[in-house]
Amino acid sequence: MAGLGRFGAGAFVAPALALIGLFLVFPALWTIYLGMTDYRLTGLQAVDPSFVGLDNYEQILGDPAFWRSLRLTLVFVLASGIVGQSLLGFAIAWALRRLTGWLKSVVETLVLAAWVIPASVASFLWIALLDRRGGTLNEILGTQGTAWLIEHPMAMIIIFNIWVGTAFSMLLFSSALASVPPSQLESARMAGASGWQQLRDVVIPNIRGHILTNTLLITLWTFNTFTPYLVTAGGPNGASEILAVYIYNTAIPGGQLGVGAAISLIMLLINLVIALGYLRVGRARAARPAEATAAETAGGAATS
């Protein structure tokens, strides 16, 4: 035991646990209380908030803006995450699987670069691309004067998020495709299966676990991303105000910390449901560890 008794071990672990406790566990629990107060950023309730019970929840559930935000979030997660990133990521991995050389590196590097550059840079690149007067998109399409971010804000943040996040699915599916036994594909080809039939009957059944993992992680991340705020700030008039942005706009510029905390709790609960789903899948797949490693390491990364 390297001379480390139980007491010594405790002393080694304690500082890290204290920090995690104060800045990760405590905020999560505190939200429950904050959500039941009329805390405000400024004014009398900032100094002396009072307990209001479930009033905040009553207000939120009766607010059409909340339901619109929830609906937009659902569309956003479905279209940009589950459908957009997963399908495009898979398609790229599939198209590149037997390719080598410069074309493969070019595609991979571009997709990865979109993923790794800082969010505030990526956002400006898209604001510039979509600009009404001088934007590149209007120049390419010859649609001068189209204000994409005002006329189609949801479609734009969905496409933007696909652009940003596809790299993860591409990487995960590339490694998944590499794990499909070549002998099975070979015998399918010998039997005269077309590319589509090979995909349906050999590849998909082999990587079902990866698909599930990818879907759950992407759902969690897309649900929690704040980056669309940098492109549209939820506007115009809340037309692209997904839940993350809605909390921010309510709590900080809106000053209603209590209400913001109540929505935060709703968001935490949804996160919990998704994460528990992930855990169930992870446990079911623990029997096949080789398949699980990559994604599990990734799973630990859904921080900040």
Binding site: G8, A9, V106, L129, T136, I247
Partner: protein, 294 residues
């Protein structure tokens, strides 16, 4: 139509049919793949192209265009009151977080790796689960309020602590893996010579675990460098803001954005993270791809 009928009337030998059809199909699918890849390059490349051209253009516009080469845009960074300071702020926050996470993470993961405490694995998984649920977005209100009450608004320390709290579970998880792989016999012999546990950690374990620590350091830097929400929430004074937030300020609050400054700033801001990413990518491969950026 005619072709089908002729085929039906006099079917060619089986071998020929099999040989011809796949070749045509192969050609079509090849063509579709190439077209698809070309579209992908356009979709992912066009927005990025601005970052490659505008910083070097003497009169950058919002559109992607072949630049009228110059390096003078980078001088605009020096002329801005806050730009260089914001890189310093980013560096302080980045290295501060690295130090906190590495020191606390090394101690905790070493202890968790060497001592059997009942429920240890459960604790690790619970923390990991928690860190993926309590995201910066979902917990922004209580985090803001906590930092507010601690009187740490507008400080780098606040960002360091909040980000460290969020990343430590993952860091401990990764580091424990590295610690588990270090043979215990080295520590046993150090102990025979009377070394204290923390001396063993410092002189025996840390030097061996250096690759793991280096990986975690880079991983943490990548997480912090581009992080927008936490500093945006906790730091309001422009002098204190890191580059991620100042970049956003440049194009939202200054009326007509100065594209010379903006483009050069964006490129300088992006380069470290791209370099670090591809470095780690080359050394560690996909096992950590997902972990490197969330």
């Amino acid at each position: 139509m005619t072709e089908t009928r002729t085929t039906a009337a006099a079917p060619p030998p089986l071998a020929a049919r099999v040989a011809r059809a796949p070749r045509a199909r192969h050609f079509v699918s090849r063509l579709l793949t190439v077209i698809g890849l070309a579209l992908l390059v356009v979709f992912f490349g066009v927005p990025l192209a601005w970052l490659a051209t505008a910083p070097f253009d003497s009169a950058p516009t919002l559109a992607v265009a072949w630049p009228d080469w110059t390096l003078s845009n980078f001088a605009a960074i020096g002329e801005n009151r806050y730009a260089i300071g914001s890189f310093v702020n980013s560096a302080i926050i980045g290295f501060g977080t690295c130090v906190v996470v590495l020191v606390l993470g090394a101690f905790a993961s070493y202890a968790l790796s060497r001592v059997r405490i009942p429920g240890r694995d459960g604790l690790l998984y619970a923390l990991l689960l928690l860190s993926s649920i309590v995201t910066g977005t979902a917990a922004m209100v209580p985090t803001f309020q906590l930092v507010n009450m601690l009187g740490l608004i507008d400080t780098h320390l606040a960002v360091v602590l909040v980000v460290s709290g969020g990343t430590l579970p993952t860091v401990i998880f990764i580091l424990k893996d590295f610690m588990d792989s270090i043979p215990r016999s080295y520590e046993e012999s150090a102990r025979l010579y009377g070394a204290r546990p923390w001396q063993i950690l410092r002189d025996v374990v840390v030097p061996i675990a250096r690759p793991g620590l280096a990986f975690v350091a880079v991983w943490t830097l990548v997480q912090v460098w581009g992080n927008f929400l936490v500093p945006y929430l906790l730091i309001r004074r422009t002098q204190q803001q890191p580059a991620a937030v100042l970049m956003y300020t440049f194009y939202t609050e200054s009326g007509q954005a100065d594209l010379r400054l903006l483009s050069a700033f964006a490129l300088i801001f992006s380069i470290p993270i791209i370099v670090m990413y591809f470095l780690v990518n080359r050394r560690y491969g996909f096992r950590f791809h997902g972990g490197i950026k969330s």
